[in-house]
């Protein structure tokens, strides 16, 4: 039943919640304290409660949708994916750019151009076989290579004229050593130029190597040879533009950023290369007649000479061979150069955003590239590798989509693992990888700047992770340092060792990213240290932001990390944040908790004795607790069985001392609200189906809020939980008692009226509602407590401690609950008594008035009955059955006391029997009135009622009846006697037809009062009540002289009418007396036998056959008995005579 009630209540709350609008009533209660509980219960909904001024928080919303809070921060506006990713450390980029440019400088633009033109002219396959379809391809090429018309036409002519060469000289410029320095810094920026003396204009360049005297090129060239017998290969080593180092040149161009800058540089190089006008300085040259080269090929060191210098200028290492086809190295190199040129062109043309390029070239480019690879006979792997390398180079300056790389990598992994690539190719592969990796890790470190909900950025992320994951399955060649400290300054690993551990680096990147973010948050949420409360708010904000970040990581990123790289991203983040949060929050909380002082409000809640700062501080601390808890809960979810995560298991301990304060605050606020709720209660039922009013519902709502508070607290420590629950129950008890007191104060004075004649109290509906309200609250206690989760607490206590202790605690809790319920129950009884007390004067007055009229009999108790009737009707229709029967009992108790006093006082006034007879009737009516259908429940005051009835019965009797009553009681006394202290009388008796036959046999051990110690006893027989036997002469025995053991053996036969015989309470009284011939006969004792105890026989049975009956003789002792006193109080002759006769029988005490 209580559950029902609770559920109903709960549903009501839910209902009102769903309406999402508060009644004026609610608001009025909340106004009181600025929606304290609403905040307490819903702190989390408002990230910054203090920012919300309206305070229109809802009563009890459970969870809020996550995305609400997600949008709340990201303190820095992010300008799209690209910008975020690009915002990386600039230093590594610079150096990459150097390489990119110097690399490009060595290209043999014209050679490549004419090569491609040639391929287009000799196009294979169906891609662009028609003559007119080649025109767009030429245009495209010209644009890509940035060549003017003249040049283009010239080269096109040459290409048309060109015939497939018979034989090719394949040259690899491997390296040089001991070069003479040319630059001011004692180094050079060397590159090689090679040509055949038969065709001096046809020069091939290697790339420029910066600031070195022993450059390594490992670059390939295929030179068409027409006359192998006569021709001579010439290799020249140059210092690149010694007047202006590459670095300086870079500075010049550096002002123009990105693709544009590169384009500019490219143009310059192209011009330089084609005109041969450059300010380079020759280091030295070597010549090799072709006829000296063995057909099988040769690798050799050539010394460099220079005109006018006798000394050697250095050595260059060259590999030479002949073949009829283009060397695959050369082809790959060409293809790479082509790729890069085209990619740059594509990027420029399509204005594609960073990170957006998806690997698709324009159609023309595709055709040209395909022609090139087909005609050079490049393998798929070689092509993919070329893309990987070139895209990586471009990526450094203009980032491309990570997806492309991950797709390329997918195709490369197997060949690399299986060793299908040359050592050189592998080296190039890893160099490219090194170019891609920084941007990958930057992406991860700057993950927070990505718009997390954007699909494409998540796509990019999974691209990055897929790259990392695939790379980590490969083994870079010995000595490779994937993560040089110069670029990865943030790495925590040993700087000296070459490092290729991608997973560890990822871990570092994630950790660093988290740490940076944390610092960022701290910086952007700076606060002054005081007042403390403001500082707590700062912590709340920080923790909230950190939690949000973690939440977002879980929601958007973690899965990708897990799937792509099996990397526990969120968990890693959590561990970083956990220690940061702990470091930040713990000391402050500990400090604050230490300084907490108990609230002062014992003496009158709501009188503002409390310290508002403490209240505020406590509330803020709670807010912080909640947010830390929510943060820790995420952690527990991430690492359910990880003992490393300290915070999740222990954070609550910091707040230990705060909980007491929060409970105090909750109690204080609850009391205040109850006060207010009572104040604004109009004491009308909340709706027609119930019998309680608004403040009862409000009070339950307040309890409910305490419950919400408790649920939110979710205190993890079970011993604490147990104790706090005990405290909450006790507080609920206090609240209920307080409510009861407030309620009874409110109704005090209601229902009282006064006119000239009388002051009167009538029970009003308000009184009934007040009682119902308290009862409603009382009944909710047990159910409420059930909602606090006691069972779980007891169960975990049993696990944590022992079953015995858990049982003990459970018992304690139950006692506390019972105590609460009882205490409030007593409050109800108090109020019921108050009502009864207020009714008492009127009841008494009416009763007395009625009694005065009693002798006139008819309906003198009308006024009383009407008063009772009216008021009890009100009570009955409003109170529940229990409370009604309770108040009925109380009124009845009061009434019976009054009645009793009335009887007593009238006894003193010696009213005639009729008075008491009428009073007895009144009593019977009242009893009937109060005990309607409620026999079982008349436990209240049975003694007083019995007593009263007894008195009224006695005093209402005729005197002879009273006398008989006296005798009947005397017989009772005789029966109860243990020893025959006054002797025994032996008789036989029988009823035969209309005869009563009595044989008096003897008496023994008589106790004479004479001083001489002897007596002359005789026995006299009376039939009682005497009024009924006036016709019969009382028989007596002879007197026996001087004996205490007289033997009579006398028979008496008495004729009785049948009425006499059947008399209900007929008695035979034997009186034994000592005959005194001088004065009155002395009484020795008497014995009584009830008619009903005398056997009835027929004529055939003689008296001598009857059993002898030994009657104990006795004397009256109870002069104080009601009957005797009643007789004494009578003034009629009969009574007076009786007393006169009876009095001497009592022994002097």
């Amino acid at each position: 039943m209580e559950e029902d009630m609770w559920r109903q209540f709960y549903e009501k709350v839910k209902e009102s919640e769903s309406k999402k609008e508060k009644t004026e009533h609610d608001i009025r209660i909340q106004e009181l304290d600025g929606g304290f509980f609403e905040k307490f219960g819903t702190l989390l909904k408002e990230q910054h409660a203090h920012q919300e001024t309206g305070g229109m928080a809802l009563v009890c919303e459970e969870e809020q949708p996550e995305n609400v809070e997600l949008e709340l921060e990201v303190p820095e506006e992010s300008g799209g994916v690209g910008m975020a990713l690009q915002d990386s450390d600039s230093e590594p980029e610079e150096s990459d750019k150097h390489e990119f440019i110097t690399d490009a400088m060595g290209w043999n633009i014209e050679e490549l151009y004419s090569e491609v033109l040639y391929e287009i002219l000799h196009i294979v396959g169906c891609d662009a076989s028609a003559e007119e379809e080649r025109t767009p391809l030429f245009c495209y090429l010209q644009e890509t290579f940035k060549l003017d018309h003249e040049k283009h036409n010239h080269l096109l002519e040459m290409a048309r004229a060109k015939e497939a060469p018979n034989i090719l000289l394949n040259v690899e410029i491997i390296e040089a050593k001991d070069l003479k320095p040319k630059d001011a810094n004692g180094l050079s920026d060397p590159f090689c130029t090679l040509f055949l003396t038969s065709s001096v204009a046809h020069r091939y360049n290697t790339s420029v190597k910066q600031e070195t005297l022993s450059p390594v090129w490992e670059e390939h060239f295929s030179l068409p040879v027409e006359n192998p017998a006569d021709d001579v290969l010439c290799v020249e080593v140059w210092d690149f533009d010694p007047a202006e180092t590459v670095r300086e040149k870079m500075m010049k161009i550096g002002a123009v950023k990105g693709v544009k800058g590169l384009r500019k540089l490219m143009k310059e190089i192209a011009v330089t290369a084609s005109t041969g006008k450059h300010d380079n300085e020759l280091v030295g040259s070597a010549t090799l007649p072709l006829k000296n080269i063995p057909a099988s090929g040769q690798t050799l060191w050539c010394s460099l000479e220079k005109k006018g210098k006798s000394k050697k200028q250095g050595d260059v290492k060259i590999r030479l061979s002949f073949s009829s086809e283009k060397n695959s190295h050369v082809a790959s190199q060409e293809h790479r150069h082509l790729l890069r040129l085209m990619l740059l062109h594509e990027l420029e043309n399509s204005k594609v955003e960073p990170y957006q390029w998806d690997g698709k070239f324009s159609q023309s480019a595709e055709i040209i590239l395909t022609q090139h690879l087909v005609q050079c006979g490049l393998s798929k792997v070689a092509v993919t590798l070329a893309k990987w390398i070139e895209f990586a180079s471009v990526h450094v300056d203009h980032p491309l989509s990570f997806i492309i790389f991950s797709i390329l990598l997918q195709k490369l992994v197997k060949p690399l693992q299986k060793g299908f690539v040359t050592e050189e190719e592998e080296k190039l592969f890893w160099e490219a990888a090194k170019k891609i990796l920084p941007s990958c890790f930057n992406g991860i470190r700057k993950i927070r700047k990505l718009t997390h909900s954007d699909k494409s950025t998540l796509h990019q992320l999974s691209g990055i992770l897929s790259i990392l994951s695939q790379l980590s399955t490969l083994h870079p060649p010995e000595g490779t340092d994937l993560f040089p400290p110069s670029i990865y300054g943030w790495l925590t690993v040993n700087e000296d060792e070459p490092n290729c551990d991608i997973r560890a680096t990822l871990y570092d990147a994630v950790t660093q990213g988290a740490e940076d973010w944390f610092s960022h948050i701290l910086e952007n949420n700076k606060t002054t240290d005081s007042p403390e409360e403001a500082y707590l708010n700062h912590l709340i904000q920080v923790t909230q932001l950190v939690r949000t970040d973690l939440q977002r990581a879980i929601e958007f990123h973690d899965k990708i990390f897990q799937q792509s790289f099996n990397f526990p991203y969120a968990k890693t983040l959590y561990k970083v944040y956990e220690s940061k949060v702990a470091e930040l929050v713990e000391p402050v909380v500990t400090e604050v908790c230490k300084s907490l002082k108990p609230l002062k409000f014992n003496h009158g809640a709501g009188d503002g004795i409390y310290d508002n700062d403490r209240l505020l501080m406590g509330t803020t601390l709670f807010e912080l607790y909640l947010i830390v808890q929510r943060f820790a809960v995420l952690g527990t979810g991430l690492c359910p069985v990880d003992s490393e995560i300290f915070l999740s298991h222990n954070f609550h301990l910091w707040f230990h001392a705060g909980v007491a304060q929060w409970l105090d605050i909750a109690l204080y606020k609850a009391l205040q609200r109850i006060k207010k709720a009572v104040e604004i209660d109009h004491l009308v039922p909340v709706d027609s189906s119930v019998k309680y009013s608004s403040s009862a519902v409000d009070t339950l709502a307040i309890f409910y809020q305490i419950k919400i508070f408790w649920k939110q607290l979710a205190w993890p420590d079970v011993e604490g939980s147990y104790t706090f629950v005990a405290k909450i129950i006790d507080d609920i008890c206090r609240c209920s008692v307080f409510y009861a007191d407030q309620m009874s104060e409110k109704v005090e004075g209601m229902g009282e009226s006064q006119n000239v004649y009388e002051k009167k109290f009538e029970v009003t509906n308000e009184w009934c509602l007040a009682i119902n309200n308290i009862d409603y609250v009382r009944q909710s206690i047990q159910a409420f407590v059930g909602e606090l989760g006691m069972e779980e607490i007891v169960t975990s206590l049993a696990n944590f401690r022992s079953q015995t202790e858990a049982d003990h605690c459970q018992r304690t809790l139950q006692l506390v609950i019972d105590n609460a319920v009882d205490t409030v129950g007593n409050k109800i009884l108090e109020l019921l008594e108050k009502v009864a007390e207020k009714m008492a004067p009127a009841i008494n007055r009416f009763l007395l008035e009625g009694a005065e009229l009693l002798q006139q009999e008819n309906n003198c108790m009308d006024r009383l009955m009407k008063y009772l009737d009216d008021n009890l009707l009100t009570l009955h229709s409003h109170l529940n059955t229990d409370n009604f029967s309770r108040i009925l009992a109380i009124i009845w108790e009061n009434l019976s006391h009054t009645m009793y006093e009335l009887v007593e006082s009238n006894l003193e006034r010696k009213r005639p029997p009729t008075f008491f007879l009428n009073l007895h009737e009144t009593l019977k009516i009242l009893v009937g009135f109060f005990k309607q259908g409620d026999e079982k429940n008349d436990t209240n005051n049975p003694a007083i009622l019995e007593q009263m009835e007894h008195l009224l019965q006695l005093y209402g009797m005729e005197t002879w009846e009273l006398i008989h009553q006296y005798h009947l009681e005397r017989r009772e006394e005789q029966m109860a006697m243990e020893a025959a202290t006054h002797g025994l009388l032996t008789v036989r008796m029988q009823f035969v037809e209309d005869l009563l036959r009595i044989e008096v046999l003897n008496a023994r051990n008589l106790h004479p009062m004479d001083t001489n110690g002897s007596c002359d006893p005789y026995v006299k027989i009376h039939l009682l009540p005497e009024e009924k036997f006036t016709t019969i002469t009382k028989p007596r025995t002879k007197t026996h002289k001087k004996t205490m053991f007289p033997l009579y053996d006398e028979y008496f036969t008495l004729h009785l009418t049948s009425e006499q015989q059947e008399l209900e309470n007929g008695l035979i009284m034997f009186t034994v007396k000592d005959q005194d011939f001088l004065g009155t006969n002395e009484f020795l004792g008497e014995a009584f036998v009830a008619f009903s105890d005398v056997p009835k026989t027929d004529m055939t049975t003689g008296l001598e056959q009857m059993a002898q009956v030994h009657l104990k003789l006795s004397r009256p002792t109870r002069q104080d008995s009601e009957v005797y006193r009643a007789l004494e109080s009578r003034h009629d002759k009969l009574a007076r005579d009786f007393i006169k006769k009876e009095k001497p029988k009592f022994l002097p005490s």
């Binding site: 001392a657 007491a660 009862d775 304690t812 506390v816 108090e830 229990d882």
Partner: protein, 224 residues
Amino acid sequence: MAAPNFQGRHMRQPSKNTLLKVVILGDGGVGKSCLMNRFVSNHFDEHSFHTIGVEFLNKDIEINGEVYTLQIWDTAGQERFKSLRTPFYRGSDICLLTYAVDDRTSFRNLALWRNEFLYYADVKEGMTFPFLVVGNKVDVSSEQREVSCEEARAWCMENGNPPHVETSAKDATNVEQAFSLAVESWAHLEAKLDRPYIGDTVDLRRQQPEQRSSCCLSVGGNTE
């Protein structure tokens, strides 16, 4: 709405009983729980557990014809429970400061307990609070005794002069008396406050605790 069910739940006689909230404080292991159990259910458990947070029992006690209902909160003395027990001090009427006569430290800590209580109980300023100092375990042999009765009484004299009593929960010495004494002490102080009484409360002035001189039931204090 169905009728509520009072049946089966014993209801105390209302209003006639004065409700008094009693808290028992003192170091862990001095026998607070044992005292309470002896008093409430006349039972002694040799191997009682340390109390977790708090325990609660209630009992009616009649003193000079007046029936009081004592709501007894027995607290956990161990330090780790400090912030769990302090919330229960608020609103107390009576406080038993308990030590064990065979444990000097527990006696020395009385002042700490007293201060902790006053700090958290929100006692009205300037009010003399009815403390009772209880030295438990008097059944121990004299060799084991570490705190003499005189010493304890001297401490009381210097600390607001609360009454002092020595008890044994084990053999039920003075346990009832201790609680009676506490209530009497409360009544005495209450009377001094000269609060107007509602209804037929007995005039408490007549019930001032008598001065007994026997040390075992040494009633110091409250002499003015």
